[in-house]
Amino acid sequence: MAVPAAGMSQRLVNWARMKSPWITIFNSGACNACDIEIIACLMPRFDIERFGMLVKGSPRHADILIVTGHVTLKQASRLRRVWEQIPEPKYVIAMGACGASGGVFHGLYHMMDCVDRVIPIDVYVAGCPPRPDEIINGVVTCLNLVHEDAAHGGKEWRQKKAVPVTGTDTNICKVVP
């Protein structure tokens, strides 16, 4: 599909988006380890601010949402609400083993098991917890996604299409007994 060439103003917006992604951190029930490693990223040693990142308290100011940890049942609706408040285009990074699959807490009674069940994820960062350099790598991967999305004119190019409904049979998900 041919993408129309971006105009001057759109190119300026894309450039600004790449150079100053603001992040908001949401603790969805993590054990603190991922949180302190993210804060360590902001500190003089790793200094994530050199990518133009700034941690913002309000999701309305943010471009990237970093979710630390598995999602507890009580936090799930709050996470969803915070995600809905972030203006488009928004990106989500899930931290650690818990963010991907629940990690060591997989299958417990107060767990959603993974962030993916509540909001869509763009980048997974592995580790328990990920080292600050791995977090920086994840963030840079996310920035590359932002760049590619800007070139494609949106996120749709990397999202799976829904199965097309053919004929009159709309009930394609019917379970065969």
Partner: protein, 393 residues
Amino acid sequence: MPEVVVSIGPHHPALKEPVNFKVVIEGEKIVRLELDLSYNHRGVEKAAEQRDFIRVLPLLERVCGICSHAHSTAFAKGIEEIMQLEVPPRAQYIRTIIAELERMHSHLLWLGVAAHVIGFNTLFMWTWRDREAVQDTVEEMSGNRVHYGMNEVGGVRRDLTPAQVTAALERLPNLEERIKKYVDMVNSEETMLIRFRGVGKLSKEEALRYGTVGPTARASGVDYDTRKDDPYLAYADVPWNVVTDTNGDVYGRTRVRIGELWESLKIVRYCLENLPEGPIRVTAPRNAPTGEILSRYEAPRGELAHFIRTNGTDKVERVDIRTPTLANWTSVAICLVNQNLADLPVIVAAIDPCLSCTSRITLLDSQTKKTGVMSFDELIRRNRSRDQGLVRP
């Protein structure tokens, strides 16, 4: 003036972890505090009943990312006592080294966060930079920066090589200098004195009455430290002092924590220099005999207690974790009365709250007001039916 309820959390710029405060204020003064701690509840205690002693330690480490060694040591220590295992002295010393490094990293982290909430971000950056030296040492010894995975029932999993010991010792003089700097700062820096002095005062009687533990209690003049009063690991062999203070306010708690940094550094140096030779673990039997034990441990935030009941199998029948933050919350509610709303973050931060350890729920029937116990499968069934509405389309 009418009372106003200010609701803070669970997601709030000033909070690092999900908690909900309902602060009742009259003008600028706080009248009382209501708390909701259950956002972080994961059901670790129930999960611990499902896993054997090898698999339960990694789970218990992840109760809290800051005092992870505290939880696994408290549990391993209790199980070893039930099994009547004699843990080799080298393992005890290595556990002590990691425990004290953990205390140093936690206190430096706390000092940074406390400085951050009063808007003194320079100190925040400084302490976190110095904390990296501790993190490097821990990473060299254990292979990970946060969850160390050093413990197993019967000893430790990794030995310290002479090169690691030398590298750790070489980092200490620089840290020593920085801690001296912080001692100077807390006593002379006007920014900190104005915001810390006289804020969140807790008398010795109140500290005892409301059962505070750790630096919060010691800052009010309560001379109580599990490491001294009920020595475990290698603390009985090491020369060190309990740090107390008589101020009882946030200033006193800062002084206690900085004093403890100093003592921890001394303990780490002593243990590294006097590391005994020998094996690092004994083979533990698979099953533990029937028994009950209360294993106490001085975590960075105060006394941590694991109550463990075994039933002759390779799993615990019950493990109950009483974390220091849970013990200290009552004192926060007491300290806050008649304080300015603007001092709320610093008073809350002064106990170094760790909500991931503390979150818990009670099963309560809203009609009959009865509390109860439920099996793991029943809990799973109930919650799985409840979370259907939350799954994204």
